[in-house]
Symmetry: C3
């Protein structure tokens, strides 16, 4: 766990900062005020990890630890005053979200393993931690959820968490698994964003289901 | 509790399997990929029971119990490869949801009573457990929530939970209450699906509220 | 804590009753039946406080305490039979929500401080408790969330919670802080409802972001 202690907080802070940026950018797209920027940044940043901790029945990581709330506060203010500088805020949002997804897939899995739960739990909670920040952000903003898009999203979280969990089970050093898990998740999602990587999607037979009934 | 131990898991697995099918069908209607099928199946299947366990402050039932996650995994794959065979996927979704609703109304109430909480709690948590899987599924899929439809839905969960709780309070054997509770909830919801059973809905005075203000 | 014990339950019951009314009015706007009125009233009334208690890892306040569920039950029935009497149900909903927001900003902060958490936590949880009832209500009803509106909303909860937390830290008597916190939050929200008070909203540069990309 010493290795975990050394690296995990940095991945954790990274994930929080970029998810906070994605949340604040969602607020910017809705033309909200600065207090709403902070709210969206905070809820998006800690949402996935909060769900993870509640499911694991461990103390929620940001309660009694004000540092975690300081990050979205600062990030939201920076975004409020700089978001107009970027060409496409939605692209930046998606890339920030991609980094957060990759960081949280690893952090979620690692925290689950660290309390002695099974690899299957670590996989499930890595995916949930990685994806729910984005889900909550989109629900709050009233936008179609990012998980409904055709490009790989849940799959990226799955690939990263699986990489980390398998390497951990194989006895690889923590930082190897964490780095590779992060890179796999981010790489899959980056391919989805750049080249539109996708799995075959379900299609009903032609001429059927036209009314979605 | 011996009777509970014998029957409750089967109702629980039944509820998970049919809610998983409903979640996977929602993913099929959104033309998502197979990973998203598994995700929707899993979240829909365990969503209501997860909320119940968090509210009761007991360990979440599927954490540290991989069997529960295996069910939506298998069900999602089956749905992915067979959903095109059915005439109307939305009808099948609603019927799967109806069975899940009935099973969870009983399971939610029974688990609440089994930890010594009051009949009022058992009623409230039976309804919440039964309905929140569907609510979460619809929120994730960006569909209007099933609880906004005119036909009886929450009422079916209420009727089933009430039947079980009253029979339990009256000292009826567990399997009697569970079977009757399930049948009442399913019967009410089936009537709603087949014949459009509904309670009188609220209507504002004619000529008023036309703008919904 | 004696002062807390004396005043807090009243603010708590007040918040539950008015949030229940707002939830029932949301059900009326969707033309739902009386069981749905009770469901919407209950979920809206206890939603914010439930999230607060889960985050603080204390027993959820309404579980094992049926009085809390009796309030939304009664309020929902009253609203069902009287809502047609008001000129604009949405205005009444917003005013009920405003009272609930103010009450819960104080109650959320006070409960957080009472278990020994930091002022930063009290501020964050005061805001979350105050705003999430409305968020959940709008998500269930499929309406755009009240936090997306231009007038001050989250800011009102923030101002009220900040007032209470600062006065508590300064050693003011509980009832002074609670009363002033309530009045500040309600006053800010009332100004938003009557005069459209708002903070400057974020705007992208003219001619940019027209497609929201």
């Amino acid at each position: 766990m010493n290795q975990v202690s050394a690296l995990l907080p940095w991945l954790d802070y990274l994930g929080i900062a970029v998810f906070a940026a994605a949340g604040a950018l969602a607020a910017s797209r809705k033309q909200l005020d600065i207090v709403a920027f902070v709210f969206f940044a905070g809820v998006t940043a800690v949402g996935g990890g909060t769900l993870r901790d509640i499911l694991l029945d461990v103390p929620v990581f940001w309660v009694r630890n004000p540092n975690y709330l300081a990050i979205p506060l600062v990030v939201a203010c920076v975004v409020y005053f700089t978001a107009h500088l970027v060409e496409s805020r939605y692209r930046v949002l998606l890339w920030a979200d991609a980094i957060g997804l990759a960081a949280y897939a690893v952090v979620g899995s690692a925290k689950t393993l660290s309390i002695g739960a099974s690899p299957a739990d670590a996989l499930a909670l890595g995916i949930l931690t990685a994806t729910f920040g984005g889900v909550i952000r989109d629900v709050l903003a009233g936008e179609p959820s990012v998980i409904l898009r055709r490009e790989l999203y849940i799959t990226a979280a799955f690939a990263g968490a699986l990489t980390f969990v398998v390497l951990a089970a194989a006895g690889a050093p923590f930082w190897t698994g964490a780095t590779l898990g992060f890179l796999v998740a981010f790489g899959v999602r980056a391919g989805a964003l750049i080249w539109g990587w996708a799995l075959p999607v379900y299609r009903a037979r032609p001429g059927r289901d036209s009314t979605k009934l």
